[in-house]
Symmetry: C2
Subunit: 462 residues, 2 copies
């Protein structure tokens, strides 16, 4: 057998082992080949015989070679020699899109990179060594303190640090709450007629049936809850996603009364409560029924989804169940990002980020409304008093599917309202609309994205 092996002179034995392993793995050494006697190879390479024997033994141990007593060492037949792993799922799944106006996506270019890097460094230099071990399942204490204070101050939430649970975004929280509710016997949960399909799936995957509540111009019809046999309701009171309508004040009261009367749980997704542009902040619902509400928030909008940080203010009755669900799914939130966020909030950088985003998004909102007025006759913007997405009701005769297809042909990613419908019957009753996220594009693409949208709607009109 002729083995071409280039040894590293500084680590002959190690590089011999690596080379043989590579050769066996890559099929350069085919199965069934007999290896040179250790004595021979040792002489060829100028290595001690024992070292070669040990390398062989290790590779036998790893299963690459096999030794037959008194007969030598062979390359072992392995079940497979080719890498197994090129799943179709991992191949790029999408068309090339350069422009993005999807709902619920914040502008990544506005992430305060340098301030965040500072916060990470500060958190790392301040953290005691035990803070860098396995953290508490409910999250890092320093962050829970900051969040309790922040949520009370900005959203009116009633929270103590002990009630805060740090999660992987709102989705992580909902996954845990769904399991906790299911473990407590919940079988049905009401959802809004429009919302994230991924949220409904989290409920379904936990074994819970979803029942859709209609939405009208005053928000979701929470008055219907009384007639339904549901254990909980998932909703977006401050700014319904994606229709943009806030829950009317009397409905907030109705909801609180339902929860307290029936012991039902309100899961409040306050995904962009910080972004209200007309100066009228609508507080969170949670303080109206704190013992019956899971308040959920996220840093994905005000900072970045790349941080993967969300939080819940969880009522006492569910707290233990949520932590149990966490242990049962192997989910947790890394302590280091939490320490960094605590430092970031403490330094006032979170407030600054929200303020500067609010200004930026307000300007975009005005540009978008002006653009639609000028360039999209017959279309109408709905639900942009707050938040970073709205509905663009399409001109008469234009369908969502046509508009989305024309947008796609222009490299613009955008979704139709029907994609968010809990069931087909809901979707049929509404005027066709696109869900427009004004946060998605970076600043230098915003104009271009709007132009592509206008061109797409125009083309669909014909």
């Amino acid at each position: 057998m002729d083995l071409h092996i280039a040894l590293d002179p500084r680590r002959k034995v190690g590089s011999l082992e690596d080379a043989l392993r590579d050769a066996a793995r890559d099929g350069v050494l085919a199965a069934g080949i007999r290896l040179p006697a250790s004595r021979t190879l040792a002489a060829d390479l100028g290595i001690a015989r024992n070292s070669v024997a040990e390398v062989y033994a290790r590779l036998v141990g790893e299963g690459w070679f096999e030794a037959r007593v008194g007969a030598g060492t062979w390359v072992r037949a392995r079940p497979t020699t080719t890498p197994a792993i090129t799943p179709a799922a991992a191949v790029d799944r999408s068309t090339r899109f350069d422009l993005d106006l999807r709902g619920g996506i914040p502008d990544g270019s506005m992430f305060p990179r340098s301030a965040w890097a500072d916060a990470v460094r500060r958190a790392l230099s301040d953290a005691p060594a035990d803070a860098l071990g396995y953290g508490a399942p409910e999250g890092v204490a320093a962050l829970r303190e900051r969040l309790a204070e922040y949520l009370a101050r900005t959203r009116g939430v009633i929270a103590t640090p002990a009630g805060v649970v740090v999660t992987h975004g709102f989705g992580g929280l909902l996954g845990l709450v769904a399991r906790a509710l299911a473990a407590g016997g919940a079988r049905r949960i009401a959802v809004e007629a429009y919302g994230h399909a991924s949220h409904r799936m989290l409920l379904t995957a936990a074994g819970i049936e979803t029942v859709a509540l209609p939405i009208d111009e005053r928000g979701v019809r929470v008055d219907r809850l009384a007639a339904l046999d549901v254990a909980a309701v998932l909703l977006t009171p401050a700014h319904q996603f994606p229709t943009g309508v806030p829950l009317a004040r009397d409905r907030r009261s109705t909801l609180a009364e339902w929860a307290t009367r029936t012991g039902g749980i309100v899961i409040e997704d306050d995904y962009d409560g910080e972004f209200r542009f007309d100066g009228r902040s609508i507080g969170a619902f949670q303080p109206l029924a704190p013992q019956h509400t899971v308040y959920g928030g996220t840093a994905s909008k005000a900072l970045s989804p790349a941080l993967g940080l969300g939080w819940g203010v969880v009522p006492e009755a569910l707290h233990e169940g949520v932590l149990a669900a966490r242990a049962q799914t192997g989910t947790a939130t890394d302590a280091l990002s939490q320490l960094a966020l605590a430092a970031f909030i403490h330094a006032g950088a979170y407030d600054r980020s929200v303020r500067s985003l609010r200004l930026r998004y307000r300007a975009r909102r005005e540009r978008f409304e002006a653009f639609v007025d000028r360039h999209l006759p017959g279309a109408r913007v709905v639900g942009l008093a707050a938040g970073i997405q709205c509905l663009l009701e399409l001109p008469p005769g234009v369908t969502e599917a046509e508009a989305v297809a024309e947008a796609s042909a222009r490299g613009l990613r955008i979704g139709g309202l029907a994609e968010y419908a809990a069931d087909a019957s809901t979707a049929a009753s509404r005027r066709p609309a696109l869900v427009v996220g004004i946060g998605a594009p970076p600043e230098h693409r915003f104009e271009q994205a709007m132009a592509a949208l206008a061109a797409a709607v125009d083309a669909a009109r014909r």
Copy 2:
């Protein structure tokens, strides 16, 4: 009504709103109290009447107040006025422990803080804006590339970037794999007779029954698999946790044959494969049966559990199921930490960290063995050829429970072997032992921790 309100002169209206909300929330304004007419309050405070009316309207909207047409504004009766949230579960659960020798815990004081902060800054300055959005469910491409290369180079794993899935530590991976296997019809999975109870719970929570395989001095008895009706086996081939014995070479072959013959899945927990002290690296099992093995690793040992980063090399047959399970549980891994780890590996900092930890842990291992020789007659160290934990078999007559209790009385956290047993019958057959983690204490506490251990065993001996 006499309202004592201190307004911030720079933001009179905003501070009025805050003060009224606080007063209503804290019960200072009791339910049923009628508020001053907006005109009166405006005059008292020197604010425009409209501004006061708007504040009232907002607080009505939030449910704090209620307005009766033509009659004025009242403080609304709320279901509860006291914060609901001081769960018992959040109260500090543990005794005060100053010393720690638990298994599987790395030394947080050795985390390369500054190098990590550099990696975060570099990752942030290099990342395009869209990398800071919602990431791909399988993980950030740059990290999957680095990991595929790293795992092939250091552990002999056969991996392409497309097969790598980034998770929240090994637990996160196991939770997803368990759900994917259950969804595919798996009902029973073999586990090692000793291991993490949390891992067995992840399987159970996914609806899977666990069956324990015995462990002898050559590792887990994988020859028993053939007689069991199991879909998969979870094991720690390089360094059995916590007994420390590596899986013998012929058993690796037996395991590979079982997997390929039956289509069974091997879940390889390579939790500390990087730490082998006698220069003989035992490669990963995965290359022996790559289409049938989920290889799992973690940055928790070589860097820090605070990063919350782990990874799997997932065979094609399970890849889609694992990503589906991720969507169904709302788990994901934040992109920013992944970008930072990619930069950290790329800069060679991960290799450096492993090397310096290996030296440090090797030195501790020698100190620990010498310490036991000198100070713990009758005790024996088992399984410390690799990794950061071992067994300390107790002197005759000393029980685990006594030793653990005496340790606890001395502020030393440590566990008995029986705590890791899959079932009570396994535990009864082994010599009593403590699971000693030489990684857990910071350097300046290591000597003290060993002294406390010796004192505890001595006390238990009497």
